[in-house]
């Protein structure tokens, strides 16, 4: 089982994702420089957080034209597991692998803090180790995390269980008071229709170790690792 972490100029959570996979979960992982795309050898790809291309113009807007992105699209279309975290989520929106767009946080400020999110769909490769409705304590750190999508698409996403995480209270209550950035429908993470591509604004890689205030982020990585182990045992190739 091998993970790939894509590195754009300006990515800055690449080392964190690498550290978690390699040293917390003891799995194989490699950095993939955006100019040297070779994705076939990986079982899962992570697009990490950061400021690809300085977030100039709009977060993810320049990264989508990077040489690696056509391969990322192919990889996703072939059913490969693809996780975009924070800036990675923004890139996935810009390139059209996920529906919707990000606006600037409603208070027009960067926000870094622990929040709570509720697992809305645990039948995905990224959440299968969570309980349905489980509340995760997890940090966010972004300026543009105010998710928006048109009402029609939102309905479709709801119908197809594409809304994976929503911001909530510690008890799991979903309301405006626990929406940190103004996101439509308190959305914190979504998947594509096939369920193999997940974008999330919170940072699971920032809460997998005891010294870091929460270990709830482990569930995301454990889900992925479990799914890949199951797949290895049934020898599915793609």
């Amino acid at each position: 089982m091998k993970f790939g972490v894509i590195v754009f100029p300006g990515s800055n959570c690449d080392h964190d994702c690498y550290h978690v996979i390699k040293h917390v979960f003891n799995r194989e992982v490699e950095f993939v420089w955006h100019k040297q795309p070779q994705l076939n050898k990986f079982d899962a790809i992570i697009i990490p957080g950061g400021f690809s291309y300085g977030d100039y113009l709009r977060p993810g807007a320049i990264a989508r034209f990077s040489p690696i992105m056509s391969q990322v699209i192919d990889y996703a279309n072939r059913g490969g597991l693809l996780l975009g975290i924070c800036n990675g989520f923004q890139v996935l929106l810009e390139v059209g692998l996920l529906p919707g767009a990000m606006r600037t946080n409603h208070q027009l400020k960067f926000i870094c803090e622990y929040v709570n999110i509720r697992v809305e769909n645990n039948a995905t490769p990224f959440t299968q180790n969570c309980a349905q409705g489980q509340v995760l304590r997890i940090p966010i750190a972004h300026m543009q995390g105010n998710y928006y999508v048109d009402p029609e698409t939102l309905k479709q996403m709801q119908a197809q269980n594409q809304i994976i995480f929503r911001y909530c209270s510690p008890e799991g209550q979903i309301d405006e008071a626990h929406n940190p950035n103004g996101s439509l429908y308190n959305i914190a993470g979504i998947s594509n229709k096939a369920g193999n591509v997940l974008g999330m604004m919170p940072h699971p890689e920032r809460c997998t170790e005891d010294i870091l205030n929460s270990t709830d982020g482990r569930l995301i990585f454990e889900s992925l690792i479990n799914r890949l182990s199951q797949r290895e045992s049934t020898v599915v190739s793609y």
Partner: protein
């Protein structure tokens, strides 16, 4: 040489050089300088670059110790932290640019300190900053505050270096002169430290990073003058930051440093290309020759003067082994960065600048560095000191609950969540203690160890007594570190003062440095470097003397760390140290009178050190559930902070003061050398025994409760009321405009 522009007395004065200094230049060169050379001398001999007023006094600071690998004089200080690792750290001011253009001024301050750290071969792992503003009731101060914070966030967040803590004070003394001091910590392997020196005759001098533009010309000179109403016109002297390019520069430099052909490296900060070349040659005992025609430029038509003095950001100068130019270029090209060989190291100890084969400047290297003017400025005790020592008697308050709420909501006291929420403080996944908890902790991956960091300085204390104030700043920094269980190791300092040509300001400076020196000697925390910022005056009015101490300590096992918040109802609350009727310089007195006044609390280095030893020993014996140092706002504020800091779950207290002092004095006295701890019931007797051994007074106050802060016979407040007063105070003040 180009002698187009005549050198007149007016031109010399505009360059901030005195007639005597100009005569010195003429005698060094044996001729009149040309315009470009005048510019070079003016920045290199500016206060900012030459430390001409402070060098003589700074010599008194202790700079050696068993952990010091690199003391002052390099881009940053370096200390050994074991396991083959070193901590690299430094603090710098960006006060003047931040006043003129707060967003870019603060952003480039962060950019500059980051480059100082990775220039040494260390990956930056944490940022802190110390900020000072005037009162938020003034719209100009709100503007400065919000944009400085946004600028720090904009740069640090993009770099992927967490801003994990710091301090923010508000006082009218900073009304027209905010302070922005940025601190950075990096970690490197000891054998991979790089220095800013140009050695190896014939080696290429290579320029990397952003192109050179017309921004920031004379920034260093600007930072060496007082301000007046026309200062806004100086906006073009403030540089514009590009954190994205700096992030690429960071990664490219660290990649280069893994190779074995880098000889020396230095960032282009204040005085840009001029300072980096001169300092590298000076340290290497060599000369440097460069060709300006090769320098990448942002716009056509730039003169040699402009290129030499530009402070465009995100640029570095390096010297590599001859013949390795292509390999250096390959690394920078991978990161889409400029990389051009612009000159070479020469044996004549001269700084020689050409453009298209024509010599435009030729100056002995030493003239710019070692031979820069050195002044022993006159010093005189300021007259105000006699008037501010006596504080009036204050009446006992009638409503203690309201008093506590009012003190908690003072911006200097209240939670800084509004600020640090805008900083990415968790990237790199090493933040062992979230901001707002006194000291910060950075764990070292692959080791049990963690580094503890803090910035401290109380300018009100220094205004009343700069010597004791200097000592107290070091003491508070060390106290913050020991509360986590970390041993203090070393400091860096940022010394923000008024006009050194005024004997009163110079007296304050000398006193504060002597106080810092005495405390550093006693705590065995040498000074590894720092920064002096003079001329913090606008329209003739100087700021309070503001030395800021950045201290680094080491925690051998991060699992042993102690945090400041209360843990468990039923735990006992104990005050280590003694509360005396000492309100001089306190927030409480300032709240009542609106002024900083009074006699500073009595302070003993021996008592302070005993307290530190007690705290560390108690933590080693696992006696403490929590530990929090007492500082501004005294016991009253510390108690509430211990209840509220942990956002995941607040706890209350039920205590009695049991003191002969009047309750308000007992609650808000700022007697130093005190730590508030909580312990499990069973551990109280062991802690008492230990305190006796270390000769530290100890007082049991009461216990931790599930909710409510209750002080017997005085007040009872719900956590929600306290939280509203304390946590949201700054945000509230910004909304009501």
């Amino acid at each position: 040489m180009n002698k187009d522009i005549p050198i007149t007395p007016e031109l010399i004065a505009q360059h901030g050089l005195s007639p005597e200094e100009y005569q010195k230049i003429v005698s060094i060169l044996g001729r009149e300088p040309n315009y470009t050379e005048l510019g070079i001398f003016s920045v290199m001999w500016s206060e900012h670059c030459s430390y001409k007023s402070s060098r003589a006094i700074l010599k008194g600071l202790p700079t050696t110790g068993c952990c010091v690998v690199q003391g002052p004089g390099e881009n940053a200080g370096v200390i050994d932290i074991g396991e083959g690792l070193v901590a690299v750290f430094k603090i710098e001011s960006h006060n003047h640019p931040s006043f003129i253009e707060p967003y870019q001024g603060a952003a480039t301050g962060v950019g500059g300190i980051l480059r100082d750290i990775f220039t040494m071969g260390a990956r930056p792992v944490a940022l802190l900053n110390s900020l000072r503003f005037g009162n938020l009731s003034n719209p100009r101060n709100r503007y400065l505050f919000e944009h400085v914070v946004a600028g720090i966030a904009g740069y640090g967040n993009c770099m992927g270096v967490p801003t994990v803590g710091g301090e923010v004070y508000f006082d009218p003394t900073y009304d027209l002169n905010p302070l922005v001091n940025a601190f950075c910590l990096g970690v490197a392997r000891r054998e991979h430290i790089f220095l800013g020196q140009a050695t190896g005759i014939g080696n290429p001098v290579i320029y990397v990073g952003s192109k050179t533009g017309r921004d920031g010309i004379h920034g260093a000179t600007m930072a060496s003058e007082e301000f007046d109403e026309s200062s806004a016109e100086r906006r073009p002297t403030v540089q514009v930051g590009d954190p994205f390019t700096e992030k690429l520069l960071l990664e490219a430099c660290l990649e280069l440093m893994k190779q074995n052909f880098l000889v020396g490296i230095q960032d282009m900060g204040a005085a840009g290309l001029t300072c980096s070349t001169a300092e590298m040659a000076s340290r290497g005992g060599t000369g440097i020759e460069i060709d300006l025609a090769k320098v990448p430029r942002r716009e056509p038509g730039m003169t040699p003067y402009e290129i030499m003095l530009s402070e465009s950001q995100e640029r570095m100068l390096l010297v590599a082994d001859k013949g390795k130019e292509a390999e250096v270029a390959a690394i920078f090209n991978k990161w889409d960065l400029e990389c051009v060989t612009i000159g070479r190291v020469i044996s004549e100890k001269n700084f020689r600048v050409c453009e298209n084969g024509q010599l435009v400047a030729d100056i002995p290297v030493n003239a710019l560095t070692d031979e820069a003017p050195l002044y022993v400025r006159p010093r005189q005790e300021p007259a105000y000191l006699k008037q501010v020592k006596t504080a009036p008697e204050i009446a006992e308050p009638t409503d203690y609950a309201q008093l506590l709420l009012n003190i908690l909501s003072r911006p200097t006291i209240s939670s800084k969540e509004y600020v640090y929420r805008q900083y990415d403080h968790m990237v790199r996944t090493d933040t062992g203690l979230l901001p707002g908890a006194g000291a910060s902790l950075i764990r070292l991956k692959g080791s049990k160890k963690a580094l503890a960091l803090t910035l401290d300085g109380n300018s009100g204390y220094c205004y009343l007594d700069p010597y004791t104030g200097g000592m107290l700043a070091v003491a508070e920094a060390a106290r913050n570190l020991v509360c986590t269980g970390a041993r203090p190791l070393a400091i860096t300092n940022c010394l923000n003062f008024g006009n050194p040509e005024k004997p009163e300001a110079m007296w304050q400076f000398e006193q504060a440095v002597n106080g810092i020196s005495a405390a550093c000697q006693h705590f065995d925390t040498p000074v590894t470097g720092g920064n002096v910022s003079f001329y913090n005056e606008t329209s003739g009015e100087g700021i309070y003397p503001t030395p800021v101490i950045g201290m680094v300590g080491l925690l051998d096992d991060i699992d042993m760390r102690v945090t400041p918040w209360f843990k468990q109802p039923g735990d006992l609350i104990v005050l280590l140290g003694e509360t005396k009727p000492e309100l001089g310089g306190s927030e409480y007195l300032k709240y009542i009178t609106g002024k900083t006044m009074g006699q500073l609390p009595g302070f003993s280095l021996i008592r302070e050190k005993n307290l530190h030893s007690l705290c560390l020993d108690a933590i080693n014996q696992r006696l403490l559930q929590s530990a929090h140092d007492l500082s501004e706002g005294g016991l009253g504020v510390a108690l509430v902070e211990c209840c509220l800091i942990n956002k995941a779950g607040g706890l209350g207290v039920a205590i009695g003061l049991d003191s002969n002092l009047r309750p308000d004095i007992c609650l808000f006295s700022e007697s130093p050398s005190r730590i508030l701890v909580s312990v499990k019931r069973d551990n109280l007797s062991a802690l008492k025994k230990l305190a006796t051994e270390y000769n530290v007074p100890l007082q049991s106050l009461g216990e931790v409760t599930p909710d409510k802060v209750s002080i017997q016979g005085l007040l009872e407040l719900s956590l929600a009321e306290l939280d509203r007063a304390w946590r949201e105070s700054i945000a509230r003040r910004l909304e009501t405009r």
